[in-house]
């Protein structure tokens, strides 16, 4: 339904700030949580994205050097990783990798019916620490995505109260959350469809909401969001 659910002016401004990328840190995280929890707010962000995208038409074109397509073409054949020539992702990358490595240990150390993932895989594995939010006691749920098998493994959690289920979502950029599956109390391994795999990328956010048994009836989170965490390459 695309009817214009009007949201208050202040919320409109916040939705626009998120769509433009003006806010950062905790302010941005809070707005992203609202995207998950409030469909009307998520729709407002989406409307701003569509509106602002019209400004791309004004962006002056610049022709890239002709050999760039060859570089891209060549890297499609090999390991599906961008060339990192001159790409200094200095401190952030180092910290992200260290955090990711810790999480990987955390996830892999759990009892596992599947063989442990090879760490030096061709495509990078992705990990996320889904940090508990709100009043729920603070816990971090580790998640590991293995591109070679297309499986997403989520550590055990006790986030869902009795009679409710924890549902996992992925948010790419400022797009609305997309459901990936329900989490068991024990370790959950979700085998993703090819379309879902395409949504899993470094920079995307994983989130967990509490839903009625069977999962959200609407396709968007209906219950409280109890945790969010960004995916990063190991």
């Amino acid at each position: 339904m695309n009817a214009d659910h009007r949201v208050p002016a202040e919320d409109e401004a916040t939705a626009a700030e998120l769509a433009l990328g003006l806010i950062e840190g905790e302010e941005r995280a809070a707005a992203l949580r609202r995207v998950l929890a409030e469909p009307a707010f998520a729709a407002a962000v989406e409307r701003w994205r569509v509106r602002l995208a019209q400004l791309f038409d004004l962006w002056p074109d610049a022709v890239p050097p002709p050999e760039l397509i060859d570089r891209i073409d060549a890297s499609l054949d090999g390991a599906p990783r961008p060339a990192t020539r001159r790409m200094p992702w200095p401190l952030i990358a180092t910290i992200a990798t260290a955090v990711a490595a810790c999480l990987l240990v955390f996830v892999v150390a759990r009892p596992d019916p599947v063989s442990p993932p090879p760490i030096a895989a061709e495509a990078p594995a992705l990990v996320a620490g889904i940090a508990g939010t709100g009043t729920a006691e603070r816990q971090v749920v580790g998640a590991l995505y293995r591109p070679e098998t297309g499986t997403l493994r989520v550590a055990a959690s006790t986030l869902a109260p009795a009679g409710r289920v924890a549902q996992l979502w992925v948010i790419a950029g400022d797009a609305p959350p997309y459901p990936l599956g329900l989490l068991a109390a024990d370790v959950t391994v979700i085998r993703l469809t090819p379309a879902d795999r395409a949504r899993i990328a470094a920079g995307a956010t994983l989130a967990i909401s509490i839903e009625p048994p069977g999962g959200s009836p609407t396709g968007q989170p209906t219950g409280p969001v109890v945790g969010t965490g960004g995916l990063s390459a190991v």
Partner: protein, 212 residues
């Protein structure tokens, strides 16, 4: 709808590479064509990917170049963006974002990520944001119908020049409030309230029409 048959992929491509452009091709048909290329790219069709690159790389490189402020970095970003597009084309949903806005958004986000990771402060003064040319016919003017664009540009023009410049620089240079404040040498709280008020006015102006 005027037939796309007159504008097959090659013709569109060739026309873009000439400097004197005939009138903009039917935007709906061009958008449908890009969508088709994106869907085929999602099924790992290399030829479709190549044509997609031909049609869109100048736009995406322009975005990366402006935000990164460095050709070599912009090349790396565009390289990475097309690999992301290759891998994620299957996630593009027709009916939501237009193909070019979906791709342009990825490019803008990656370029911003690069700049923040590299610790480079965007070099252009804020006045440069207004130097981005006014609407001109563009073969890739596919994001919206002419009406919607005209309305957005009209509403932007209705803002006072300082607010308009601040919103434009946030978009075109990919700046956060903090970065806009530094560049304008203005307190953060002031910038925030100027931009927020401007965004609400923009919304009110646009909101007189039905939502998309």
């Amino acid at each position: 709808m005027p037939g796309w048959s007159r504008h097959d992929g090659r013709g569109f491509c060739n026309r873009r590479s000439r400097s004197t452009l005939p009138p903009v091709p039917d935007p709906a048909a061009a958008r449908a064509h890009l969508g088709d290329l994106l869907i085929r790219t999602g099924s790992e069709d290399r030829a479709a990917f190549g044509e997609l690159y031909d049609l869109t790389s100048a736009k995406l490189f322009g975005i990366a170049l402006r935000i990164c402020g460095d050709r070599a970095a912009a090349e790396d970003v565009v390289h990475e963006v097309y690999l992301l597009i290759w891998r994620r084309a299957g996630a593009w949903e027709p009916g939501r974002a237009s193909p070019i806005s979906w791709m342009a958004t990825i490019a803008r986000n990656r370029a911003i990520d690069w700049r923040r990771a590299a610790g480079v402060r965007a070099a252009q003064p804020i006045e440069a944001a207004d130097a981005v040319p006014d609407p001109a016919p563009d073969a890739l003017a596919l994001a919206a119908t002419g009406d919607e664009r005209a309305r957005l540009f009209g509403c932007m023009d209705g803002l006072d020049p300082r607010t308009r410049a601040a919103i434009r620089t946030a978009f075109f240079d990919g700046l956060t409030y903090r970065e806009v404040a530094i560049r304008e040498a203005t307190p953060l709280a002031t910038i925030k309230s100027v931009i927020r008020r401007g965004l609400i006015r923009l919304r009110d102006c646009l909101g007189r029409e039905a939502a998309p």
